[in-house]
Symmetry: C3
Subunit: 163 residues, 3 copies
């Protein structure tokens, strides 16, 4: 199995730079052998590429677009984790992912968006591509009313650090 950094290169991906701490919290904390990341938004060069609620109907962002944003957000989460352990190759495995999807809900069953798993697969699949079996994680996917800065998705990780 290739190292995660090799897999990133093969996938033509680069860990983004980590946004500087805001207020009294930080992008990630190492505690013993685990790293907890903050919830990460799909920033690309400091900008959110799309805003609003995800939905099939009545949404601002399509499920497919949101899946792409989840992929971006998890890459930001990996960057945050990597920064506190000396690089992505020091991540031994991914333990837990929580994915929040800002979800259209106009009170009618027709318009309520319930495809959160497909959206968060954008994050889970990238973890599989980078880490292989070590990328297999426990996961919760949830649809929420609104996310910071009107971001469509937010991802947080718990990862195990290599000894």
């Amino acid at each position: 199995m290739a190292m995660p950094s090799q897999r990133l290169a093969e996938l033509n991906l680069k860990l983004p730079s980590v946004a500087p701490p805001v207020a009294a919290y930080v992008p990630a904390v190492r505690d013993g052998g685990l790293v907890y990341t903050s919830g990460q938004l799909p920033f690309v060069d400091g900008q959110l590429p799309q805003l609003g609620l995800v939905g099939v109907r009545g949404g601002d962002v399509s499920p497919d677009e949101a899946k792409g944003l989840a992929r971006i957000a998890v890459l930001n989460a990996l960057a945050a984790a990597a920064a506190v352990v000396g690089g992505i190759d020091n991540i031994e495995r991914v333990v837990k992912l929580t994915g929040f999807v800002a979800s259209a809900d106009h009170g009618s069953t027709d318009e309520r968006f319930t495809g959160q798993p497909g959206v968060i697969n954008g994050a889970s699949e990238l973890l599989g591509e980078i880490f292989g079996e070590a990328g297999q994680h426990a996961r919760s996917a949830v649809g929420v009313a609104a996310l910071p800065l009107d971001a469509p998705v937010e991802i947080e990780l718990i990862v195990r650090v290599r000894d």
Copy 2:
């Protein structure tokens, strides 16, 4: 105190079979002495018995019905945890439960559902019945806009494994 498996039998309950992994995530991950489960929906034989938002008024599912679904979902979560540690009797204690309730919210105080604790008690009480004092857990209960597949509740656990 009876073993959890004995208590299950006395309660006339059986751990359900665990749904196979979907995409690049798994039902539960063991990391050291802890198991993190994925968010579990109230599947019964692969079907969700009820769909939609929980509410007193304007809800698809009543609070009482939702409490029953929370009981089912936590049983699925225990099954997921038990499967990675060789059985439910290897669960030493329940550490944390997070319960998400898809909650009616039509913008008026009257219709907004705020009884999440009563719903998630369905899960907490079953943990008490099965594990006794070792089932006493920290817990968050939250009302969300929508859940995967239009499930009314979703439950995730962190449990400690017996040495």
Copy 3:
């Protein structure tokens, strides 16, 4: 650096008493060197000072008011953690904070509240004031449809215990 208990006194704050356990869950669980708190509401003497959704427009509670409630809720979370480890000075550092904000969402971008980070800063900043660098935590802030008892904010913590 002053001990957390000294900082509390200098800030003219007192840890509130911890609400008694409800049903089969408890305010906080210690597992090894970590404490997981239950989601804490901004109770003051057993009452919620304000109810409803947070929003700039169409909200029941203003973002500034909600920031104050987040400060109260995290103090309750610290009280819950302190109670299981023999006092706040036995908290070595804050690892993770999750903040849920009941957020106005009337389907229009104008009325959807997306300022969760500013609200949860009320909690994060207090942790910084009390713990200094040891208060720097990973954090997720999320906007949800409704919270227990119609509370505007809910905060949960994971903290590391001093050896």
